[in-house]
């Protein structure tokens, strides 16, 4: 199995960290991974994105021209990435900021209010980790437990309290996706 994902948003939303957590988790469970951030003048401008490939096989190109998933944290990124996701792929949107309609009917689109959920958890800064939990559930690229374990060895694992709240954030994101999927099915 090979899963190619793009994470995109404003600089400061923790977009690159989201991709890093995924790549790091993938590596920890023995998969081949590549992580490629956008770089150069672009990064310093304000928008940020990265591409992560997780695979059972050696990865050819770390660039994804038609990713399986796009995780979109702001409106400008929706415009840029909604069109490139492969047919049948998934689109995960930050419902607190992204309100534009998606003009494709060949994708699974889930809208998760990650900022609201993070706020309810008492840590606004964990919105990106909530989104990682949502992505884990939606993509099934790795078990949620693997993400939780891996988190301890990223920058978020330095303080026990921070680690704890971010593990809760992963759970909350995954749960939000399960609820959203149920709604999708019943709709």
């Amino acid at each position: 199995m090979t899963v190619k994902s793009v994470f995109a948003g404003f600089g400061g939303q923790g977009v690159l960290l989201m991709g890093y957590i995924l790549a790091f988790t993938g590596m920890r469970i023995g998969k081949h991974v590549t992580y490629l951030p956008s770089y150069g003048a672009e990064v310093r401008g304000g928008t940020a994105n990265c591409t992560v490939v997780v695979s059972d096989q050696e990865i050819a190109s770390p660039v994804a021209s038609s990713p399986d998933f796009a995780v979109v944290m702001n409106n400008p990124s929706l415009i840029r990435f909604a069109t490139v996701v492969r047919s049948g792929g998934g689109l995960l949107l930050n419902d607190d900021l992204v309100h534009s309609p998606v003009k494709r009917d060949d994708l699974t689109v889930l809208r998760i209010p990650v900022s609201t959920i993070a706020h309810q958890l008492g840590e606004d800064r964990s919105a990106n980790v909530v989104m990682v939990g949502a992505f884990a559930e939606m993509s099934q690229v790795a078990p949620l437990e693997a993400f939780k374990e891996a988190l301890a060895d990223t920058g978020l694992g330095k303080k026990a309290k921070v680690l704890e709240i971010n593990r809760k954030a992963l759970d909350a994101g995954a749960e939000a996706v399960r609820q959203a999927m149920k709604k999708e099915k019943s709709a």
Binding site: M27, Y35, L36, A60, S61
Partner: protein, 369 residues
Amino acid sequence: MTKQLMRGSHVLGEAAVRAGCRYYFGYPITPQNEVPEYLSGRLLEVGGTFVQAESELSSINMVIGAAMAGGRVMTSSSSPGISLKQEGISYLAGQEMPAVIANMIRGGPGLGNIAPAQSDYFQATRGGGHGDYRCLVLAPASCQELCDLTFSAFDLADKYRNPVMILGDGLMGQMMEPVEFPEPVDPAALPKKDWILDGAKGRPSRIILSMLLDPKRLEAHNYKLTRKYDAMTAAEQRWEEYQCDDALLVVVAYGTAARIVKGAIKRVREMGLKVGLFRPISLYPFPKEPLSRLTQRVRQVLVFEMSSGQMVEDVQIAVKSQAEVHFYGRPGGVIPTPEEVAHQISHYYHNAHLAQGEAADGRRAGGAA
């Protein structure tokens, strides 16, 4: 040793430190700024020296000085900066000073852009600066290989007393992949060099120079260098053959382009096309003999580069008239997709009637039975 998830630029720096490199002299340029950023801190930890010079010119000349004094030394830059360093690289070659230079190639000519490209192949493999010389050039295609080649580059530089160039691109510098690092080398445990300038204590004074005003002496010196390049050619050709055993067409590509080709081969193999990859890892010396052997059997060759065609000339020299050599390139920093390359492979494969040839063979086999 556990794997670490690290970006290419940091991998380069870490592998250098582990190889015993303690001196880095550089100047900022995108897309390789993470190399000096990493080493500025890392070299402090191991008691090394990091200098951000005022220019590319000064940084490469500091490298010359550090090499003369016996230090394991490196610099890094990207295309326009490497152009500026060429005079110094020519001196390193003429003076036979060991040093490692990394070029994370960006789109050119001129200021170009900061996207990944392979357009400095000629510059790297033909010397690059003035005079009759070569650098040993290594082109990794993954972060792990970047680590391994950087680690051995310092030994090769010392072995041949010659500059060694690591040829990557912007993508390789930015990309993160899991890497397993080798155990660190203690610089104090490295073999002592008997030619360095460290003060003539208890021995006659030494001179290091490339200037030989007498043409006969310079000629002798150039022949000595040539013999060294011949020795490199005999001992240091590195390459990878991927799915070449049954191939009717091979793609020749290196570095990032070779990764894309692997993705393309997966696609065309699914369609039943027998295609392999020949990936040069050492660009100088170019793996001429193995490619020549391969093309005694495989008569269709497609060269793919992220440039408008440079390595293709070395392929033609190696292949001679044994096989038909085609070229596909994307210059300017464009990263082609595996689908696009697969399309090109399929085009040349069918143009050469390889699919039909196979069918004909099949009929003959059937008739015989």
